[in-house]
């Protein structure tokens, strides 16, 4: 069976100073294909703009967002979500223009615009009466 588990655990990088185990989470996304571009919207609350890394290589778009640890005082009496980095990748294909990918981050939501190469965009052909 394909190991589709609902939660995976990754050690935080190779930084020996960071001794505690950090979980990596897969953010919820909306993906929209509108022809000229593909739009990916990901919920990554807690991430900061400078900790977000989006890359496109071999047809795979990867996003990784570091979430700084939040120090909260007191003791936990209810815990419904965990805090950790976000990581997810998508196989899009090769007909995208990597140099034109743009991403914006606002209020915990990352929006990535992945435009298709101009050569493969759908083009409407005008039919003229002959």
């Amino acid at each position: 069976m394909t190991p589709t588990i609902t939660k995976t655990e990754e050690r935080a990088g190779a930084a020996p100073a960071q001794a505690e185990t950090t979980l990596t989470y897969q953010p919820n996304v909306d993906i929209c294909d509108c022809g000229p571009e593909v739009l990916i919207v990901a919920d990554i609350p807690g991430a900061r703009t400078d900790g977000i890394d989006v890359s496109f290589e071999d047809g795979v778009l990867s996003l990784h967002a570091k979430v700084p640890a939040r120090e909260l005082p007191g003791r936990a009496i209810r815990q419904e979500y965990g805090i950790g980095d976000y990581r997810r990748s998508f196989r899009l294909g090769d007909d995208f223009d990597a140099s034109q990918i743009t991403a914006t981050y606002r209020h915990g939501v990352l929006t990535i615009h992945v435009p298709r190469l101009a050569a493969v965009r759908p083009r409407k052909v005008e039919v003229r009466a002959g």
Binding site: I5, T6, P36, P45, L92, G108
Partner: protein
Amino acid sequence: MDGGRKAEPRFCLFFPSLFMESAMQTYRTGFAHPLDELRDEFDRLWGNLVAAPPLHGWGSQPSTTAFPAVNVRETDDAIVVEAEVPGLDAGGVDIAVTGDELVLKGSRPEPQGPTTEPTGGKGNGERKPAVTWHRRERGTGTFERRITLPVAVDAARVEARLTDGVLTVTCPKAPEAQPHKVQVRSA
């Protein structure tokens, strides 16, 4: 490692291969026992087999937990509620406190469509570009979450802060709920 993995066959059946995912599924919420996770996974797989296509297509993962998910902490003099509300700005969430109940209300906006709308004339058979949603995992619409706090809090002094989609509500305990140190006198 992420990129090289093959996607699951079930996505191939119902989904354009374009968006086969390559990473293992990890969801944000739920702290279940490993056996519970296994059971949930079987439920989900079985559900995918027998169910009709869900509203937003196969591949969407309906959230089973209430929105927003909260973490609650207690200090000596306050209850601190932290909630993840991505996409909402400070005006988008309505916080009400009465006694020992905290209510979070608001509305999550619909995802914005593509920005590269083809420019052209208006009307006259001009059609909107065909938009295909391949994933709709982020919830939208109104939400209301009632959280019962362990003690009564001082509603007038509740403070809330919203940073990068994380809402932190600090509710100072009501004076009568705070621990009162009793002096023991020797007889």
